[in-house]
């Protein structure tokens, strides 16, 4: 008993230290967003002016817009294509399933810098090939776009690294799903298409939605792959990067604070909803 109590005190101390390690930098970062002076070490007075100037910083605002648009479009496409693929793959034989799954793992385990570099080379090669074609092919066949580096290349890159996550989210749910649900739908008069849309899809909906959210966050957060495929465009992380390279302004602290609070709010709300649902369920169970 004695040992157990000592262990739990030790454990508490350790966890406190660990969490201070996690949060100290973030707290400092946030605190200095309210600092009057530009100094990163002296706190001279409280102000909101960095937040104000942040919202007048065109570079950041346009980067934010690009990041959001990119994230939304790529997440939608990745979710649709990935969900279709998960269903298709589940119907395949063991061997082809294994091959496809292994290829899907490549962008997950490969260092991001290599994914970024390889896509960059692809787009450069494409531009060269398209330029050559458009010079040499008959005029009516010169339809290949030469300049893909920019939004198209970013979009392709983001879809590519989101797709495997969609599949790895949806496929297990598909495997867990009771085949009898589908049969029950047929039994009650659905044809195959109706059974899919009325039963299978609603069953997969939570997994599909969380795949969509994951794609969204990965896309917004990605720096390395975007860095190699963006050309001259700036997504939000790239804008942040260029800010950290320049003479630093506390605007970046203000931006961090806002992003952190937004994420915190989203997580808290979704968790609250979760725990409320769980409590509701527990209460209902007792009632029965």
């Amino acid at each position: 008993m004695m040992g157990k109590r000592r262990g739990s005190a030790l454990m508490r101390a350790y966890l406190v230290l660990l969490f201070s390690f996690f949060y100290l930098p973030i707290v400092v970062l946030m605190a200095y967003s309210f600092n009057e002076s530009k100094s990163r070490s002296n706190f001279t007075g409280f102000t909101f002016k960095w937040y104000e100037s942040l919202f007048h910083n065109d570079m950041i605002l346009s980067a934010l817009g690009l990041s959001l648009a990119l994230a939304l479009i790529s997440a939608v496409i990745a979710t649709v294509v990935g969900t279709m693929a998960a269903i298709g793959i589940s119907g395949m034989g063991r061997k082809s399933r294994l091959i496809i799954n292994n290829v899907s793992y490549i962008p997950v385990v490969n260092p991001e810098i290599i994914t970024g570099v390889s896509l960059m080379l692809l787009f450069v090669a494409w531009s060269g090939a398209a330029a050559w074609w458009n010079q040499n092919a008959p005029a009516f066949l010169r339809f290949f776009p030469e300049d893909v580096i920019g939004f198209p290349s970013l979009l392709i890159a983001h879809i590519s690294f989101c797709l495997p996550y969609v599949i790895f989210n949806v496929a297990p749910k598909l495997r867990q799903m009771d085949v009898r649900l589908y049969e029950a739908a047929l039994d009650l008069g659905c044809n195959h298409r109706q059974a899919f849309f009325k039963v299978v899809l609603p069953e997969l909906a939570p997994a599909i939605f969380s795949a969509f959210l994951i794609s969204l966050t990965y896309s917004i957060d990605d720096f390395i792959i975007s860095y190699f495929t963006c050309g001259t465009l700036q997504t939000l992380p790239i804008a942040i990067y260029s800010m950290t390279r320049k003479k630093v302004s506390p605007e970046i602290n203000a931006l961090s604070t806002i992003m952190f609070l937004v994420i915190l709010a989203i997580i808290l709300i979704s968790n609250l909803a979760d725990s409320r649902r769980a409590r509701y369920k527990a209460a209902k169970k007792e009632e029965v």
Binding site: D178, R180, L181, E183, A184, A185, L186, D187, L188, G189, C190, N191, Q194, K198, V199, P202, E203, A205, K281, K284, K285, V288
Partner: protein
């Protein structure tokens, strides 16, 4: 049977990956009957049900419904509905929407759907549960939703695949009676799959005993119990003492080292037979009065009766008796002519 045949299976053969499951099964099922497929797991009973439901395509053979060939008809075009093992309720829909699922596919008349669903929920005893999520229901309640979901479509035949398997004993007994009541009230053919022989005997008009992809015996519960056609049926339906014997002539059989009078006839003289005696049909008497004598090995209290294992020669008898003897005690056993069931011996 006074009712016409509704489902007819003709020479059904089913393989799974080359593994034979049904090997030429033929069966007629009559209208408004409660038919049970009974057998150990892997005997092909669920597969037979799924052939009728349209979820398994037979390799050869035909399925007739009201005399029409429906072998190649998909499940959603058949006038049958299924209550699945573990229910297969749609977790994203509430109780009402689960039951309304089939109706909504056919009709847009919201008022009619509503009244039919509510009526059916009342029939299965779930009035007031419409808005509940199916995941919050108990096993028995989920079972009722599954039954209501099938029955609300007014199928000619309801298929039930071990529907009570997940319930505890007490609830299972209640639901057995309720299912029987529903079937009689609605006058729908029920085809019921179970491995529980007691369940089969309690509920059915006709029991189909299956083993190894073949039908072993078809008959009323009484026939199946009292006149098993072979050792498998005798052994599967309740406990039995099965002994080898010789039929000397009509009404005279020899087993366990002596001759007994019986009520069977029509065997060849001295034909080798198997004799079935139910444990409750053996009378325990003082040793000197018994046709057979044996030594009690052990006695187990079973609630209503005692189960005794009695050694006689090289055979161990199972006897059910309301009075317990002592282990080690020498007892006598009497078997009346009516209690001896004779079957031709199998190779």
């Amino acid at each position: 049977m006074e009712h016409p045949v509704v489902v007819s299976l003709q020479d059904i053969v089913v393989d799974f990956d080359g593994e034979p499951v049904l090997t030429g099964l033929s069966l007629d099922i009559h209208d408004k009957e409660f038919v049970t497929f009974l057998g150990p797991s892997g005997c092909g009973k669920t597969t037979t049900l799924r052939v009728i439901g349209g979820f398994v395509q037979p390799k050869s053979g035909r399925v007739l419904f009201d005399g029409q060939d429906i072998t190649n008809l998909p499940p959603y075009k058949r006038h049958v509905n299924t209550v699945f093992q573990k229910y297969a309720l749609f977790p994203h829909l509430n109780v009402f929407e689960n039951v309304a699922f089939g109706l909504r596919l056919k009709s847009r008349d919201e008022k009619a759907i509503r009244s039919q669903v509510l009526q059916m929920l009342e029939v299965v005893g779930l009035k007031g549960f419409e808005r509940r999520r199916v995941t919050t229901l108990s096993g028995g309640q989920q079972q009722r939703v599954a039954i209501a979901r099938g029955l609300v479509n007014r199928p000619r035949v309801l298929l039930l695949d071990e529907p009570l398997g997940a319930l505890d004993l007490k609830l299972r007994k209640e639901m057995q009676l309720e299912l029987k009541r529903l079937q009689q009230a609605l006058e729908i053919t029920f085809i019921y799959v179970t491995h529980d022989q007691e369940e089969a005997l309690t509920m059915s008009d006709t029991v189909v005993v299956m083993n190894g992809g073949l039908i072993q015996q078809i008959g009323s519960p009484e026939d199946i119990y009292n006149e098993p056609t072979n050792a498998f049926v005798a052994d599967f339906i309740g406990e039995s003492n099965i002994l080898n014997g010789v039929m000397h002539r009509d009404f005279l059989v020899e087993f366990a080292g002596r001759e007994f009078t019986c009520v069977d006839k029509g065997f060849a003289p001295n034909q080798l037979v198997q004799v079935v005696v139910r444990p409750e049909d053996i009378q325990v008497v003082p040793a000197i009065q018994g046709q057979l004598t044996g030594v009690v090995r052990d006695v187990i209290f079973k609630g209503v009766h005692f189960e005794m294992h009695v050694e006689q020669g090289d055979f161990e008898w199972i006897i059910h008796s309301t009075r317990a003897s002592q282990p080690g005690e020498m007892i006598g056993m009497c078997i009346g002519p009516d209690e001896i069931h004779i079957m031709p011996r199998e190779e």
